[in-house]
């Protein structure tokens, strides 16, 4: 029976690491630009669909290579979002930028529908039994998901703490105007944020699609969890987003043992509600900024 709970915990950690990958980009964009990017979910979906496109006939690249052009284009979409929509609106009313991001989300999602249809798609992977470690089942894709999350967060940690670019990124999120007066290259920092947000979202989307299926709503559905993770960790805090994502993944999966599985979202969000009542700024309660 203990194995049962350990297995639930494992499932929770895996699900949580994917939520965290989605959440980190949201947190970064919020930390610096102070708005919630609703079209973040579409970067998840585009990453997955572009990989499908490059691995299907016409390109027929092996899956591992298909990921590279797919991520490059996803980053392109992220940068284009900023260049064409968010940058011109940066000085305007925050509501305008929020609505623009909702509109952009619809646009990007419907382009996917137009190109690939609304029907479910799948990577043609051969199905295999999960590997067993001390009675715990785990599939190769799930291992890949966890390793990727570890690798990505490791690189991010290194970038933010050990490089000048990372330090300027943190400075900008603390005070944008002051940083620009101090001579920090704002363009470079802005680009870095969008590149990181797109790479994290796109890779998370590809991993999720490898594990399950692709459908145009996959980004939107997971964005809710990512929002919750960001809120829980403390808006704008990257490490908070990581902890928040893991917390939600574990809470919802463990709850299945005790209540009807269809209420697992209720448990996760109920816990967040209670936690935010006592710590309204999230676990790592800070006013903002990329830490």
């Amino acid at each position: 029976m203990t194995i049962y709970y350990v297995q639930l915990l494992t499932n929770g950690i895996i699900a949580g690491s994917i939520y965290a990958m989605f959440a980190v980009g949201l947190a970064m964009v919020y930390g610096v630009f102070k708005f919630i990017n609703f079209s973040h979910g579409e970067l998840i979906t585009w990453g997955a669909y572009l990989t499908l496109m490059f691995s299907s006939p016409l390109f027929s690249l092996p899956l591992y290579f298909a990921v590279i052009p797919a991520l490059v284009i996803t980053v392109g979409i992220g940068l284009a979002q900023d260049f064409f929509v968010y940058r011109p609106l940066r000085q305007s009313n925050p509501i305008a930028i929020l609505i623009a991001s909702i509109g952009l989300s619809y646009l990007l999602r419907n382009v996917i529908r137009l190109c690939w249809g609304s029907d479910l798609q799948t990577f043609d992977l051969t199905l295999s039994r999960g590997l067993i470690f001390w009675g715990i089942y785990i599939t190769k894709t799930q291992i890949l998901m966890m390793l990727s999350a570890l690798l990505f967060f490791g690189i991010l940690y290194f970038l933010l703490t050990k490089t000048l670019l990372g330090k300027s990124l943190r400075a900008v999120s603390d005070n944008m105007e002051l940083s620009s007066i101090m001579g920090i290259n704002m363009k470079k920092v802005t680009c870095t944020i969008w590149v990181l947000a797109s790479v994290f979202a796109g890779s998370g989307g590809i991993l999720l699609a490898l594990d399950t299926n692709l459908d145009p709503m996959m980004g939107m559905n997971n964005l809710i969890k990512a929002f919750a993770a960001v809120l829980l960790g403390g808006a704008g805090n990257i490490w908070g987003a990581l902890i928040g994502g893991l917390f939600i993944g574990i809470a919802e999966n463990i709850s299945v043992a005790f209540i009807s599985p269809d209420y697992k979202d209720f448990i996760a969000f109920g816990l967040i509600f209670i936690l935010l009542l006592f710590k309204p700024r999230g676990i790592f309660g800070i006013a903002g900024g990329v830490r």
Binding site: N11, L120, N213
Partner: protein, 368 residues
């Protein structure tokens, strides 16, 4: 301006006079001709038009030409509501063929009932439709019957204890309730019962809970996407059971998405004999009108619906909806169409016989 108003009124008048003079009897149809169901809608329309041609070739309705006024619903509930409102208030039709997809059908049935307009369905299965009201009928069997069908299948395969899981919406809950009642009545035991969310991507923890009960068989009443994900993740988790499913997951898409994890699934689906003289006549007529075209999904049901309506209109005392309703109940008794017996019960439902399907070597075949 005056001239314009005058000419508009006269044209309208002429149209009205024209429709009466020509001796036309019309009924309405809310059909998905655009949107995501358009691919099916075209087939429904062709099957209905085939029946209309036959009715008119045989002399029409009491000497009048029979006609269907088609309204597109863009495959949505909102579109269905606008379409039926137009057919009721502007065209003033006493009988309307309802839209495909249970959610669209359920959206329009209160409107039909309220306006005392007869609503007939040919492809909506939700059990809730039985409770729509006295003006609502369907020639397609209710899911209630399917619940019984799955219970019979489980007993036939001699599984005494099963885990039951179903998609958590009106359709899934209703179907599971019927299954539970029938299965436990026959002495079966449900060792665990768990609803699963619609459209999720991760069911692993649900599967673990099912696995922890060590079942030999799991009854999974769900759709294609959810069904495929569950089968796939169960396979990865090393869950070896007999999966029993309904007709909503019977699709080549399930095999495509779940691959070898779908191998050996057994399920039920509403069926009818293709050996009857009625079916053969339909098939010959279809091939003649639409050479080289396959009969569309639910085409036979649409054809039966129109034929039965024409019979009712023939024997109705007047063109009012109450008279047509009474006639419909009467003529349906013992009426055998291409899809079998179409006798309406007090809820406006028909009976059905159920076939069994299985997946073998990646193909959906009949289970014997």
């Amino acid at each position: 301006m005056k001239k314009f108003i005058f000419s508009s009124i006269s044209i309208l008048f002429l149209i009205l006079i024209g429709s009466v003079m020509a001796g036309e009897i019309s009924v309405g149809s809310v059909t998905p001709l655009t949107g995501k169901l358009a691919v099916y809608g075209e087939g429904f329309q062709q099957a209905m038009l085939l029946a209309v041609d036959e009715i008119n070739a045989a002399g029409g309705i009491k000497g009048n030409t029979f006609k269907i006024v088609f309204e597109d619903n863009n495959s949505t509930s909102k579109g269905s509501v606008s379409a039926i409102r137009k057919l009721i208030t502007i065209d003033k039709l006493p009988l309307i063929f309802g839209p495909a997809a249970s959610s669209n059908f359920l959206a329009v049935c209160p409107i039909a009932q309220e306006n005392k307009t007869i609503l007939l369905g040919a492809e909506s299965a939700a059990a809730a439709i039985s409770k729509c009201g006295s003006y609502v009928f369907r020639v397609f069997p209710s899911d209630l019957l399917q619940g019984i069908g799955v219970a019979e299948l489980t007993n036939f395969l001699e599984y005494k204890e099963v885990v039951l899981t179903y998609v958590n919406n009106d359709w899934g809950v209703g179907l599971a309730e019927v299954f539970k009642t029938e299965f436990t009545k026959a002495g079966g035991k449900i060792i665990d019962e768990l609803p699963h969310g619609e459209g999720k991507t991760d069911y692993r923890s649900e599967i673990l809970r099912m696995k922890s009960k060590n079942p030999k068989a799991i009854v999974n009443l769900t759709y294609i996407k959810e069904g495929a994900t569950i089968l796939k993740q169960a396979y990865e988790t090393g869950l070896n059971v007999q999966w029993l499913m309904g007709s909503a997951s019977k699709s080549p898409k399930l095999v495509e998405l779940a691959g070898k994890a779908s191998e050996g699934v057994i399920g039920t689906y509403p069926t009818f004999s293709q050996e009857t003289s009625q079916y053969k006549a339909f098939k010959t007529a279809w091939d003649k009108k639409y050479p080289g075209k396959k009969t569309p999904i639910f085409g036979e049901y649409n054809y039966d619906m129109v034929k039965l309506t024409a019979l009712a209109l023939q024997s109705a005392a007047s063109y009012g909806s109450d008279d047509i309703k009474a006639a419909l109940m009467k003529v349906s008794k013992g009426y055998i169409g291409t899809t079998g017996d179409k006798s309406f019960d007090e809820n406006g439902d028909v009976g059905a016989s159920y076939g069994r399907w299985t997946i073998k070597d990646g193909n959906i075949t009949d289970y014997k």
